[in-house]
């Protein structure tokens, strides 16, 4: 693969380019799932291809192919060069790239137990046991479990001289149960909804999340929701579990800070952002206890946004996004760094696969842990605690959001006193983060994986990481839908 990348790069350099980079990507995946005690999916896949990005005549061209013969690659390089020429037909000025030093490196993500070396039989036995444990509650009408593993090997080479190999292994798993009764459908999921937890790990993740232990109480909660009162409407003190807060960070901080969105690149699809350039180092994004980082380094944890180098050959970095409530930084790229007077990209360009162009993407956008104990966070006379995302929506400039959760509880004097169903809360992003009044400490901090973040045209689905611990917010609009 390394040689293939270098050969393709030589072909590109021979076509009169200002800059070129090449990524050869090989990936394998495995997906297993069950529904109501039956194995519903056993699939595997692999994919290999090459993507070539060329800057010529001041404009970009990109072409990808899975034909890895010399002719196939030459054709793709020729096409990328021709596309750059066509792009120049409608350019306002030449693309200018921030400089980056050259790197030669090879990196494998940590993986204690290779998920592809665990037998399919063992995996199926496990998820079927989880499925059975969920169905032990007779009220349950539908169960789901899933397991996912991906290994991606990539070689990157660019015309500046960088040559970088990376291998990333991702594992994910989750379970859910539904109770349909009297024309109402309630659901509980673990460890998170929409597929569970995903991290840059191996089979050890499955041991850590221990779905089998949680399954009986999860099913009981799904049944209990039918008898619960609707979540009350009004302004309330709201406590969010760390998984819901992870998605809140993703939508109301992670997306609006993307510099390409701010600069208008996504105006037609994903939208723009309220974080215009004049807000940098001026906007009070959150209360003084809110510290948010964009951190792709392995020191941050095994997140879906963890890597050694981004897809422009820039090393993983940690950037302050919000420091003591003040908005302090954007994720950037070679092309956009200059827009905020930075001399270098902070390494956030990522492509979903060999056939896609790198875009500015969240890495691990995380809320740093606070100093409170969990008891401190819950220590309010009256409040509402919500857990596990059920629905999420935010406007195209990322001001107005509404989230629904699977379950909520009424809090009185620091204790959960009764369950509430169909909870939703809504607000404006900066108003929400400015009423953050308690964040639990590192003992309760989890680095969540969002495996399905969509952006770009053609759309790219990317994994992002979000560290969070349970936190409390004052005067939030809640209700039931």
């Amino acid at each position: 693969m390394r040689q293939l990348a270098l050969d393709a790069l030589e072909l590109a350099k021979g076509r009169g380019v200002q800059y070129a980079d090449v990524r050869v990507v090989e990936s394998e995946t495995q997906d297993l799932s069950t529904r109501n005690g039956r194995v519903s999916q056993v699939t595997g896949s692999d994919s290999t291809g090459i993507g070539t990005r060329i800057l010529a005549e001041g404009a970009w061209g990109f072409a990808a192919t899975d034909d890895l013969s010399r002719d196939g690659i030459d054709k793709a390089v020729f096409k990328a060069r021709a596309i750059a020429k066509a792009s120049a037909m409608a350019k306002l000025g030449d693309v200018v790239l921030a400089p980056e030093q050259t790197w030669t490196a090879e990196w494998d993500s940590p993986c204690a137990v290779d998920p592809f070396r665990i037998s399919v039989q063992k995996k199926l036995d496990y998820v079927l046991k989880v499925d059975e444990a969920l169905r032990s509650n007779k009220a349950v009408t539908l169960t789901e479990t899933s397991f996912h593993a991906t290994r991606t090997r990539q070689w990157f080479a660019n015309s500046e001289g960088s040559v970088i190999g990376q291998t990333r292994t991702v594992t994910g798993a989750g379970c859910a149960c539904y109770v349909f009764k009297d024309g109402d459908l309630q659901k509980r999921s673990y460890p998170n909804s929409f597929g569970g937890q995903y991290q840059l790990k191996g089979w050890e993740l499955i041991d850590e999340i221990d779905m089998l232990r949680r399954a009986p109480s999860l099913a009981e909660e799904a049944a209990m929701l039918h008898a619960a009162d609707p979540c009350p409407a009004g302004k309330h003190t709201l406590i969010l579990d760390s998984s819901q807060l992870g998605l809140q960070i993703h939508e109301s901080i992670g997306h609006p800070i993307e510099l390409d969105r701010v600069l208008g690149s996504e105006a037609n699809y994903a939208g723009m952002s309220f974080l215009t350039l004049d807000q940098l180092r001026r906007l009070r994004y959150g209360s003084p206890i809110v510290h948010v980082v964009s951190d792709a380094t392995i020191a941050h944890g095994p997140g879906l946004g963890t890597f050694a180098f981004d897809d422009e050959g820039v090393p993983a970095q940690r950037t302050d996004i919000i420091r003591e409530g003040l908005f302090t930084g954007y994720p950037t790229s070679h092309e956009s760094a200059g827009a905020i007077s930075e001399t270098r990209s902070n390494g956030c360009m990522r492509a979903a696969d060999w056939d896609r162009l790198p875009l500015i993407r969240m890495t691990n956008t995380s809320l740093e842990p606070g100093v409170q104990t969990l008891d401190d966070v819950f220590d309010v006379p009256h409040g509402i605690y919500m857990e596990t995302n059920k629905s999420w929506s935010i406007d195209d400039k990322r001001y107005d959001f509404q989230f629904g959760c699977e379950a909520a509880w009424k809090i009185r004097d620091g204790r959960r006193v009764r369950m509430l169903k169909n909870p939703v809360y809504s607000g404006i992003s900066t108003e929400f983060w400015n009423v953050c009044e308690a964040i639990a400490n590192r003992d309760h901090w989890t680095l969540w994986g969002v495996p399905n973040c969509g952006k770009g045209q053609p759309e790219q689905v990317m994994g992002t990481g979000h560290g969070a611990s349970p936190s409390r917010f004052r005067g939030i609009q809640t209700g039931a839908l």
Partner: protein, 444 residues
């Protein structure tokens, strides 16, 4: 691209490999495509891409055990390896008593979805059209112009051999002014059906007419949903229109199949052969897609059945199943909502006073049984009075039951092919809705 002789040769390799392992039931789907997309923003092309790929997906069945392996390595050794891997996975799998045998062959009339101009649309042609569109927009232009050609085959050891060739093109444009925006989009099998300049002018006009948007209070309004807004919202219910969803008690139709669900003016069909539709005339197992009347005058009528669902129910499959094994069963994919006879100006006149919605955004399901969806308006939301646009308004959040919405449709235009971002392309009308609940107003 893959031709018929290659498809047959590749399938033979897989079949031969399977037989070496004493496995006789094999299914192979093949897909090859070339696509290109020119993306522009801030009045310049900023991304311009092309990709060419092919893939084989091989399923084997060993009695009641099945599994699937996919690869984009299309040489003999790789296809044999993928087949062997599928056999290993199937042997490790549990038996599924509901697994049907491989589908039998049947005559499937082809649909003509190939356009030579679209298949060969060049980067220069796209760039030229984009430059022209940018020139037609008063503010800042952003959008895409894409084209694709693809070929797919489905073969199995029972004799199924199905082929489908298709082209498609999409143009989408957003015009942004200082405090407003406008949007337009179209897709078609032949690129000649897309008037890129007209779309750009429409987006620009919407941006101009919605400038200085005023805040209106949240509340229940009379609303016109343009076709893209209709498909993005109504499209959220079709996952429930499935025999498997009903079996699993996760459909809003559970327990209501004999009731009138929607207004008597709502008839919805699934018809792959509709002249404005796209897609293959067969499903993931190679079963011919039948036309279905999903809802007639508000009543549920015919639901899609995959072969496993049909086997459970003791009835014929309808040709709407996804490739096995899967988690969802089947669903409609060629939706046609019968409209009415109003023209758009007539719809505006009937609206009188209310809100005109161009486009919706970030729609998510809040209640799976009442089909309550939340989301936002975007890129052209207008206050209408006296049947005329009066001004732009700030964008609303809505929380609306699609069931309630389809009981409150007062009038419709004739249906046309429409394209949004939250659901698949459909043939739908614009709708005048008597009561539409907007629950919040955003900052722009």
């Amino acid at each position: 691209m893959i031709d018929e002789s290659k498809a047959r040769a590749w399938f033979d390799w897989a079949l031969h490999e399977a037989r070496k392992h004493s496995v006789g039931d094999v299914e192979m789907s093949l897909h090859a495509s070339e696509s290109a997309l020119t993306r522009f923003a801030n009045n310049t092309i900023h991304q311009n891409v092309s990709d060419e790929s092919g893939a084989a997906s091989i399923r084997v069945a060993i009695g009641k055990r099945t599994a699937r392996v996919s690869t984009n390595r299309l040489d003999e050794a790789s296809l044999r390896r993928a087949t062997s891997q599928a056999i290993d996975l199937a042997r490790a799998n549990e038996e599924d008593p509901g697994l049907p045998p491989m589908a039998p062959p049947e005559a499937i009339a082809p649909v003509d979805r190939w356009d030579a101009e679209t298949a060969t649309l060049s980067a220069e042609a796209r760039a030229g059209a984009v430059r022209e569109a940018i020139g037609a927009i008063a503010g800042s232009a952003a959008g895409i112009y894409s084209s694709e050609r693809s070929t797919q085959f489905l073969l199995n050891s029972n004799g199924v051999f199905a082929r489908h060739d298709e082209t498609g093109a999409t143009f989408s444009v957003t015009a942004t002014a200082s405090d407003s925006s406008g949007w337009a989009k179209a897709s078609a099998v032949p690129v000649g059906d897309i008037d890129t300049l007209a779309l750009a002018r429409s987006a620009s006009e919407k941006a101009a007419r919605s400038k200085t948007p005023r805040r209106m209070d949240p509340g229940v309004y009379r609303v016109i949903l343009e076709p893209a807004a209709v498909l993005d919202l109504v499209g959220q219910i079709f996952g429930d229109c499935s025999a498997t969803a009903l079996d699993e008690e996760r459909s809003f139709l559970n327990g209501r199949f004999n009731e009138r669900i929607f207004g008597s003016n709502i008839t919805i069909r699934d018809d792959v052969r509709h002249p404005l539709q796209d897609g293959a005339p067969f499903d993931g197992e190679g079963v011919a897609r039948r036309a279905l009347t999903l809802f007639e005058s508000g009543y549920p009528r015919e639901m899609p059945y995959s072969r496993p669902a049909a086997l459970r129910a003791g009835r014929p499959a309808t040709g709407h199943g996804y490739a096995l094994p899967n988690d969802v069963g089947e669903s409609p994919v060629n939706v046609v909502i019968e409209g009415g006879s109003s023209t758009m100006p007539e719809l505006m006149a009937k609206l009188g006073r209310g809100i005109l919605v161009t486009r919706l955004w970030y729609i998510r399901e809040v209640d799976p049984i009442r089909k309550v969806m939340t989301g936002m308006t975007r890129d052209g939301t207008f206050f209408v009075d006296g049947g005329e646009i009066q001004r732009g308004v700030r964008n609303f959040r809505f929380n609306v039951s699609v069931v309630d919405l389809l009981n409150a449709v007062e009038a419709m235009t004739a249906p046309g092919r429409a394209s949004g971002e939250e659901s698949f392309d459909m043939v739908v009308p614009a709708m005048l809705v008597a009561e539409f609940p907007f629950t919040e107003v955003t900052m722009f």
